[in-house]
Point group: C2
Chain length 203, copies 2
DNA sequence: TGTACATCAGTGAACGCGCGTTCACTGATGTAC
DNA sequence: TGTACATCAGTGAACGCGCGTTCACTGATGTAC
């Protein structure tokens, strides 16, 4: 990556400064001015690379969705050929992403960005969801045709419980954490899969 | 409720103004100044009733937890004597609360308040959680002793999936909503309970 | 009951602050000859 | 290779704004006699 005129890749430096701010102080803690300061640059310089505050934040989220989609994809593929293993791996990947990329995660899901205002953001977000849908689709093929719930419903369930675990138990927002987040998600999805008839009833 | 000197119960009027603001524009949309304006009062007047911005926000959350705990309690009692019905009712009550009291819900879970800084808030929050724990406790009594998961884990699972459904599918934050939030939570908990062995395997 | 006084909820003006954004500029870098 | 020029990333100063908070005040309400 070639060095630019003065700073050298200020665009990405701003993205990373924003990430650090969000990870440290929450999505509210991010301001254009502070990100500029962290990148050792005047606030006005930001406007050479982004249309404004929201565009910078959206770029952070966009990169997050890219990484997210890639991680889910990778986890899914690593779990094959068993649909069950692939599905469980995507669940674990969700939580791993939230833990490893807290700035991205918060920019994506807690920053109050309107997905409608950033079409490319909606697109890359849909890609991540498609991966999870695909994992669920493969999963339900293992069920007898009569009791085969819609795949999109299953992925919505897993998405919801994963997000809930992240919000309530990965960070401290839900008061004291009775269980490690990973264990909570693992056991929760385990019970759920048994409920679908995909795991044997004995623990 | 007696009318005060000038305004008459400004304290509660401010709480309700804050609720309306949060419900309309999200937890970020709440400012002390705008709440004061909505209550037709000078910003400085707020300081007759609250130590500052955060104290007002905390009071909103506190009242939310009060309502929340009462709703869960009521739903739980209404579902008795069947532990299963009581448990399912608390799950439904969670979502009903989030839908009916969006301002409270966001103040409680999305406003970035530190529970540690407001001890009474932590206390009333614990009360709500205790109700859910109790419902889970009664539930696991129906299981053979060998495969009886900890009640606090079950309630954490349900709390997580409920919160996730609210965040992703009750509001528009997760992109397009494939299913109504209520259906999603109902079916999700249904599958989960079957996984626990508390519902018969046939749909 | 009437009057003098005390209380204190809400006012209005002011504060310092950090925010996002704009604008004319400057000077290092890249390029054409 | 050396020089003159064009480009354009980043500067520095300024803006208007709304924020939370403070302070001396005022005047309606409640109370004591």
């Amino acid at each position: 990556m070639k060095r630019g005129y003065h700073h050298g890749n200020l665009r990405q430096a701003l993205v990373e400064a924003a990430l650090a701010l969000i990870a440290e102080k929450g999505p509210q803690g991010f301001t254009l001015s502070e990100a500029a300061k962290a990148a050792e640059v005047t606030p006005a310089a930001v406007y050479r690379h982004f249309a404004g505050r929201d565009e910078l934040l959206a770029e952070v989220a966009r990169q997050g969705f890219d990484i997210f989609a890639a991680l889910l994809e990778y986890a899914h593929d690593a779990g094959r050929p068993t649909p069950l293993a692939a599905f469980e791996a995507t669940g674990r990947a969700y939580l791993a992403f939230a833990r490893k990329y807290p700035g991205h995660y918060q920019a994506m899901f807690e920053s109050g960005l309107q997905p409608g205002k950033h079409p490319d953001l909606a697109q890359v977000s849909a890609k991540a969801r498609a991966t999870m849908d695909r994992a669920a689709e493969a999963l339900v093929q293992g069920l007898p045709e009569g009791r085969r719930p819609p795949a999109s419903m299953i992925s919505a369930h897993v998405w919801a419980v994963s997000h809930g675990v992240v919000e309530l138990f990965l960070r401290g927002n839900g008061g004291p954490q009775p269980w490690p987040a990973e264990d909570l998600l693992e056991t929760g999805i385990g019970v759920y899969l048994r409920g679908l008839g995909l795991l044997s009833p004995d623990r």
